[in-house]
Symmetry: C2
Subunit: 644 residues, 2 copies
């Protein structure tokens, strides 16, 4: 087969392109970090390059203007060279919206001492992909075993693992690479199957050892977080997050499933989530100077619907009784098949799902919080767009779900935002003054989940809103009075920060309907927990620990959340703000075999309870839409505190 | 995605073609049995069709003449419809050279009573692919397990096997197919891995049960034999054979390996063997009216080099000391990846190889002949283009190889041919008259391996040739005298059948150099066996059974083969003409798990001895180039018999 040389100007690098291969594929294979969020399907229009010199053939694209066409600007994924060519990359890293390092957990993981922490918490260290060096004995007339058998035998013996080679492209290159390197080679091993047996596969044989990277992803309905891990020396290199681009097709899961049933709907949702993930990956590997070819594993934790969309699987029956997913333990797949812009041979894993409304995010969360090995009864509250509640310990695990809306992720809230730099994560209103705490200590640009959870308590204590969340007609403090105004649609809103003090020259406000959104969210969660405990014949006092999980921010004021009526009125010491335990679950899955084992065990042990089928749940929900609740006896301490 | 309708005129069938898909792929997927020996790469030019109506786009091809172009004749593999179209198939079955049912074994297998025979010989019945029917319980609010888990769990339980689903295209279609068929479905299971664990994979879920077919192939250096098996009710439907098209690149293995090292050489050899196999498959499934989509497994037995070429693996190091193959236990692959024109998802298996010159054909042969479970010491002689010799029993197995040339397969012999209809399989010369026996009792058109093995003894006994294989100057019988003539290159040849009595109007002859070829072949085999036994400190009398294997024909006269000096001079009752035991090995592998287990055990137990490294072998070879040998004491009975 013929091939052409492609010189990439800005990198001063020369790569090979086989005849008939497109430039994007060739660049990915050669480790040129080019931006193409759709994975090369020609639908995102982001992989623009300029052909400086040489012959080529390209397809018409709506993303290329007439003017760009004149300048030989093309989509790399739609262009094949017809001679040696020179190209210029057009999408430098600065053009991507800069996303700051995001919050993962309050205290669980020390970013720079991951290994120690894992061991301390009882997890073994055995990443899902590993790179090992081998010095094979060379063959002889007496030792004439085949190259493949020689390699597999020695890898199995050295690593004490079941190992196979499955891919003929690896087999085919073996004779040369073994001999050229005088039988000193480096092998990349990935987990091929985790059940019914643990089986590793040799997915690459290379010359020398390099750093090995993996990516852990929390695929939320609203927010997607990507963490880059160095799995050679166990370091978290950083995390970035952004809004799931699927959000244009609906804020909640049900709307998106309805959309997925339209023609090409599923494909569109699949494409959007891949775009989001590819952009985040592109950004974080570029920032850390990591070669995309060194990423050999991606681990996803997400709710059942998100994982179905990610894998391009029909989600139709998730919303139809009896609510059955297509898969619970998704087969391992390959990056190039899924459309991820990393090493094409990287393996893709998903944390296992329990039921249509309890996904791998929750399974991973339970293990991250060590609930699966706890003697005491614990509760996990996951405050995502879908709220999930788990009650249990090492002997039993029961889970339920409720739709609580994206308020805690800062969506559908006037000044809401993700828990990233510039987000207000706590508010205090004292003597008519509004104080706040901003992530990254910069000027604020919005308010994130933790800020929103604390806010109603402060507004209520300051007399700005009543127990139903409505603004009081007469507010005592004149300083506060003047912060109230009507917004464009005639609704009352409270100005938390005037635009003169914000980072984006826009007022940060909270409106009456924002507060109603928050009340609905907290009501769903509290009522779900209350109902589930009743079903299990447990009371709040039986709970020894409550883990509060979600990507809403590092700071949650428990007392304020109790005043809101989100959290039950029990001792503050029983609460643990656990952070993004879904992401943490994905990280643990990436790094530790005992974590993977516990995750699959947890998945099998967990029972899903359908709250919506209980009349108790449906009937009593409305009583939770007050601060803290219509039944004040459920909140004796809060009541006492507020009456003081 | 858009799709177009394609009406196939002769079949009165309508199929769907997705936009961008070529017609050949669409036809294969829809079970239209179209002839395309290259598997759709555009290089064989055989998948010609005529577009009767509709718009299409096609690539230029050297196989389409200007006249054909005018008539809208195109290659299906290079053509995509742009609208609904009507096509006409141009390659009816009659155009393929008709190949008659070929000989597999003398007595081992009763074609119509395979199952009974298998059990009788101690093999269990468990084919490598199976189709099972399931009546799954439908899900409920309490039983909400995912579709995939439900299916895998019930299949595993019912079949008592380790089962997985690995392919997302199967996962994706699951929800609809389960519900449309009210949870009554048929599942096709194939073996995914045979080691380190036995693992089955669900490769298709379909509506109703149909017959399941498999194909067993003996990939010889010279001859390829394809057998079609109904693995639902265990019937051999037929076998066809033809010359391996690689033969244009050399008759022997070494020449082909040298060619494979040239640019595109390996690809060409790979393509040629696939062409041969696809043509044979095409022929036999058409003749039996089998839908190509019902073929779910193909099993190959062949020598190490042939299997490397088939899998497109470099064979370079097979001919270089220390003679190491790339693989001994080739990973299971998929028909569409290899380029076989059957169900694209069919799994492809290869019998395991022992060393560079002992392949799966020999391993399969040992198990077919039950040598691996024998108490007595047995010998297997495989008389292919490469000669292989195995000595052993249930406790040890030693193998050696010798290059004996393709004479026993009828190649490089003036009137040589495969053992198919029209081949002379035995010759008698009595009182100056030449008598012969023809396969199929038709007019002869050539002479096959068994005929060639018997011929020198008859020529020698009639005084036509001397012990060195040269024609005698003076032949006693005048009838025979007039059958001798000089051929075009001035060499003596003996006319066995005048053209007036042949089926192709050509004389059937044997020349002096033909006889030399036969002597070289027999010499290599006999000397190999003799040397190997000496190395093992065994004598001919220690051998309790000798299995004579190969595709040379059903009839071998042991006495004549002893006179030739091919077979050792021991009791005739010790010889078994076993037929094509390589093919038989592939059939056993297809049908029985205990056979597969024994085949892998045999492969691991067998030791390869390199004869060429023994000085004894190289020095004494020339003494075998006489009838029967220079050392007549090795053939006491033959000597006695001839002197009578």
């Amino acid at each position: 087969m013929n091939s052409f040389k492609v010189k990439v100007l800005s990198l001063n690098k020369e790569i090979e392109v086989a005849e008939g291969q497109d430039l994007l594929q060739a660049m990915i294979k050669s480790g040129v970090n080019i931006f193409a969020s759709c994975g090369g399907k020609g639908v995102c229009g982001k992989c623009k390059i300029k052909i400086v010199n040489g012959n080529f053939v390209t397809k018409f694209s709506q993303f290329i203007s007439e003017e760009e066409k004149q300048q030989n600007i093309v989509l790399a994924c739609e262009t094949q060279p017809l001679s040696d060519i020179v190209v210029e990359l057009l999408n430098p890293i600065d053009e991507i919206k800069k996303l700051k390092d995001v919050f993962i957990t309050s205290s669980y993981f020390d970013k720079h001492n991951l290994e120690k922490k894992l061991v301390l918490d009882g997890f073994d260290i055995s990443p899902i992909a590993k790179m090992i060096h081998l010095n094979l004995p060379s063959p002889s007339i007496e030792d004439y075993v085949s190259d493949t058998d020689r390699l597999v035998t020695y890898v199995s013996q050295q690593e004490k693992l079941k190992v196979i080679i499955d891919d003929y492209s690896v087999v085919k290159t073996l004779p040369e690479i073994l001999r050229v390197n005088n039988w000193n080679i480096t092998v990349v091993l990935v987990q091929k199957y985790l059940f019914p047996e643990l089986l590793y596969e040799i997915c690459e044989v290379r010359k020398e050892k390099r750093n090995l990277y993996a990516i852990a992803v929390d695929v939320g309905t609203t927010t997607i977080v990507v963490t880059l891990l160095n799995i050679t020396d166990f370091k978290i290199l950083g995390s970035v997050c952004s809004i799931n681009k699927q959000i244009t097709f609906g804020a909640d899961i049900i709307t998106r499933i309805v959309y997925s049933e339209e023609t090409s709907g599923l494909e569109m949702l699949n494409q959007k989530v891949l775009e989001t993930i590819n952009e985040l990956i592109y950004y974080i590997i570029a920032e850390n100077g990591v070669d995309l070819r060194d990423i050999y594993a991606v681990v996803f934790a997400g709710n059942t619907t998100m994982i179905h969309f990610l894998l391009n699987l029909p989600a139709k029956y998730i919303r139809r009784e009896p609510y059955v997913p297509v898969v619970n333990r998704p087969p391992v797949t390959v990056a190039k098949q899924l459309g991820l812009m990393i090493n094409p041979e990287a393996r893709v894993y998903c944390l296992p799902l329990v039921a249509s409304y309890i996904g791998g995010d929750i399974v991973g969360g339970v293990v991250s919080c060590q609930i699966d090995v706890s003697d005491d009864i614990c509760v996990l509250l996951d405050l995502g767009t879908n709220g999930e509640i788990v009650v249990g310990n090492k002997d039993f695990l029961v889970a339920a779900a409720c739709s609580c809306g994206p308020a805690f992720e800062g969506i559908d809230i006037s000044s809401g935002m993700l828990a990233v730099e510039g987000a207000i994560e706590d508010v205090k209103i004292v003597n008519g003054r509004v104080d706040y705490k901003v992530i990254g200590n910069t000027k604020p640009i919005g308010i994130c989940g933790s800020g929103l959870i604390g806010l109603p308590a402060e507004l209520y204590k300051a007399g700005i809103i009543d127990r139903s969340g409505k603004f009081n007609k007469s507010i005592l403090e004149p300083q506060l009075q003047k912060r109230i105004r009507q917004n464009e649609i005639g609704e009352n809103e409270f100005i938390l920060v005037g635009k003169e003090h914000t980072g984006n020259n826009r007022d940060i406000v909270i409106s009456e309907s924002d507060i109603q959104n928050i009340l609905r969210s907290k009501g769903a969660i509290f009522h779900g927990l209350h109902t589930l405990l009743k079903y299990l014949h447990l009371s709040f006092s039986d709970i020894k620990k409550i883990f509060i999980c979600g990507g809403f921010g590092s700071y949650i004021d428990i007392k304020k959340a109790q005043i809101l009526g989100l959290l039950p009125d029990i001792e503050e010491s029983k609460f643990v703000v656990a952070g993004n335990t879904s992401l943490l679950g994905a990280i643990l899955y990436t790094l530790s075999q005992s974590a993977r084992d516990r995750i699959y065990k947890t998945q099998q042990k967990m029972t899903y309870i359908d709250l919506s089928s209980m009349s108790m749940y449906m009937n009593e929900y409305s009583s939770t839409l007050f601060i803290p609740h219509t039944d004040l006896s459920l909140f004796p301490n809060v009541t006492k505190y507020l009456s003081k």
